[in-house]
């Protein structure tokens, strides 16, 4: 098995159009969410962490963001490798504008053309775990020597259908996201385009050790305690590590009353001593299919630049977990977790030299 390195990352999200801006915004305490208005009795106004730019045409906006973020990740060094596009909504925003048809292959071809991509292209869609499943798939190809370079591109951009569906399921808060919070009452959705460049030939301080995804059909819209614990055990086994070797876990903790509780219990079942935890949802919103790539990009940048998201909310004492107020010293082995629709529970393990 070849080692797989995380050699570059790029991010556009509500915190900023690139990583430097995102870190600066985080340092200043974040940014207030914008609002989205949805129709119907259960509709109305909801907070939404949109990317701040003025382009209204979905395709043109997506093209600009994808090219910008991919360039930030150094995608030009991987054009002959494999491209993984991870999304739950594809280009449905363009379909709503009349600028595309619902066609997976056309969407993948469009993104590949924007990037001048010459290697194989895969579009992974497992709802909110899409990016992590793309990372796991990319890791398998690179570790086996089938490919040498890969780019995982998480794309989740503005459309009405996704927030409409979450609102219909009554999963959204009308205030703000409170990860593991005592008063948590739902999610704040957000936009993101994020890129992670992986290489089996170029060294980097960051290594992707492996990961696991566990689908539990008993909970098609929520997290299962047993599946969370199973996911952590499988991810550790796939990475050749033990629970005691993990220094930090980036949790899902999107502020959902039920899911946060299941996640906390699953953590306690999998770890005799739960490692320090961090959540990025309050800062950037839940960016669904892009969230795995977006949150790994932001977290690794935070650790490299000594930044940390503020954890000012009161944590629910009944969960028996806490969020780290500052980055753990010498955090080397990190897990990043996303839970999603379809009973999908995914986690990957990174190691910093």
């Amino acid at each position: 098995m070849k080692p797989v390195h995380l050699c570059g990352s790029g991010l556009a999200c509500a915190l900023g159009l690139d990583m430097k801006l995102a870190l600066e915004t985080l340092r200043q305490g974040g940014v207030a969410p914008s609002q989205i208005t949805l129709p119907g009795m259960l509709g109305g106004s909801f907070p939404y962490r949109a990317i701040a730019d003025s382009q209204k045409d979905w395709n043109e906006r997506a093209r600009q963001l994808v090219q910008r973020v991919a360039a930030e990740a150094g995608a030009q060094q991987a054009h002959n490798g494999v491209l993984f596009i991870a999304t739950s909504s594809f280009d449905i925003g363009a379909v709503e504008q009349g600028g595309a048809q619902m066609d997976y292959r056309a969407f993948a071809d469009k993104v590949a053309t924007w990037l001048g991509w010459t290697g194989p292209v895969y579009a992974i869609s497992t709802a909110c775990t899409s990016s992590l499943n793309a990372l796991i798939a990319a890791h398998a190809l690179l570790a086996a020597g089938e490919e040498e370079e890969a780019l995982v591109l998480g794309v989740e951009l503005d459309n009405r259908m996704t927030p409409g569906g979450f609102a219909a399921l009554q999963l959204l808060t009308r205030s703000d996201s409170k990860p593991f919070g005592a008063q948590r009452d739902g999610l704040v959705l957000g936009e993101a385009v994020a890129a992670l460049r992986l290489s089996a030939r170029e060294p980097s301080p960051w290594k992707l050790l492996g990961g696991a995804n566990v689908v539990d059909g008993s909970q098609p819209t929520g997290a299962s305690v047993a599946a969370v614990a199973n996911m952590y055990r499988r991810a550790l086994a796939a990475s050749g590590l033990t629970a005691e070797q993990i220094d930090l876990i980036k949790v899902q903790a999107a502020g959902s009353p039920g899911n946060d509780a299941a996640e906390a219990q699953g953590l306690r079942d999998a770890f005799d001593t739960v490692p320090p935890l961090v959540s990025l949802k309050a800062a950037m919103g839940h960016t669904m299919g892009a969230s795995g790539a977006a949150e790994i990009a932001l977290l690794t940048a935070c650790l490299e630049h000594d930044e940390w998201p503020r954890q000012e909310r009161e944590i629910d004492a009944q969960l028996h977990v806490s969020l780290a107020a500052a980055a753990p010293e010498n955090a080397r082995r990190i897990m990043a977790t996303i839970l999603g629709f379809g009973g999908s529970h995914a986690s990957v393990v990174l190691e910093r030299a």
């Binding site: 949805l38 993948a108 869609s125 497992t126 190809l141 259908m161 609102a167 566990v214 098609p220 999603g340």
Partner: protein
């Protein structure tokens, strides 16, 4: 390069006219509140598993699913509902292809790795799946509901050494009957027809 023994197969393009009745029989009741695409997927996967003689997947097996258009019909329905109201919650869930993975997991009494790959070719799906496949093998499917529908599945077990080089296999023939083993090498598919000498212990039935 990996070689798989084909332990079960459902090749249904289009599915038989009685497929909904067959699905109800396999489930013990007509499925409720799921879309046609998911029903087609369930029908094909359960038919394939029945042919393989398995009722449940082993924990280390994986489910890999591909589609050209996937949940486009459910998505069109939800977009129409969104014109003047929020969509129906269950209708929105049906826009997510991963819901079929959860349905399959529940039906097969299984928790494990499952993944949906959109709009690629079947051999590309098999390539990704093969790179992650463990001893429990794969339940690999391709489902579309347009043009009369298609639900094609293979139950694949790794290993099963075969003699010779086999024959090149077009991507759209991956699920077709007539071969007992399939080999993926990069994006290249090779098939080993019935009657090929099987050297390993894990041959097809």
């Amino acid at each position: 390069m990996k070689t798989f023994a084909i332990r079960g197969r459902c090749a249904a393009t289009p599915p038989p006219q009685s497929w909904r009745e067959e699905l109800a029989r396999m489930l013990g009741a007509r499925p409720r509140r799921i879309g046609t695409w998911a029903e087609l997927g369930l029908y094909g996967a359960l038919t394939c598993m029945a042919e393989a003689g398995e009722q449940a997947l082993p924990p280390d097996a994986q489910i890999w699913l591909g589609s050209e258009r996937g949940t486009y019909a459910a998505t069109a329905t939800v977009m129409a509902q969104m014109q003047d109201d929020l969509p129906m919650p269950l209708a929105f869930l049906q826009t997510q292809p991963s819901q079929l993975l959860a349905l399959l997991a529940a039906q097969l009494g299984w928790n494990g790795h499952a993944c949906f790959v959109a709009g690629t070719e079947p051999q590309a799906l098999l390539r990704l799946a093969a790179a992650q496949c463990g001893a429990g093998g794969l339940l690999l499917g391709w489902v579309d509901e347009m043009q009369g529908g298609a639900t094609n599945w293979l139950r694949l077990l790794p290993g099963g050494e075969v003699a010779g080089e086999g024959v090149a296999l077009a991507a759209d023939q991956l699920f077709a009957p007539g071969h007992t083993h399939v080999r993926i090498d990069g994006m290249s598919l090779r098939a080993f027809p019935s009657g090929a000498a099987i050297l390993g212990e894990q041959g097809a039935r």
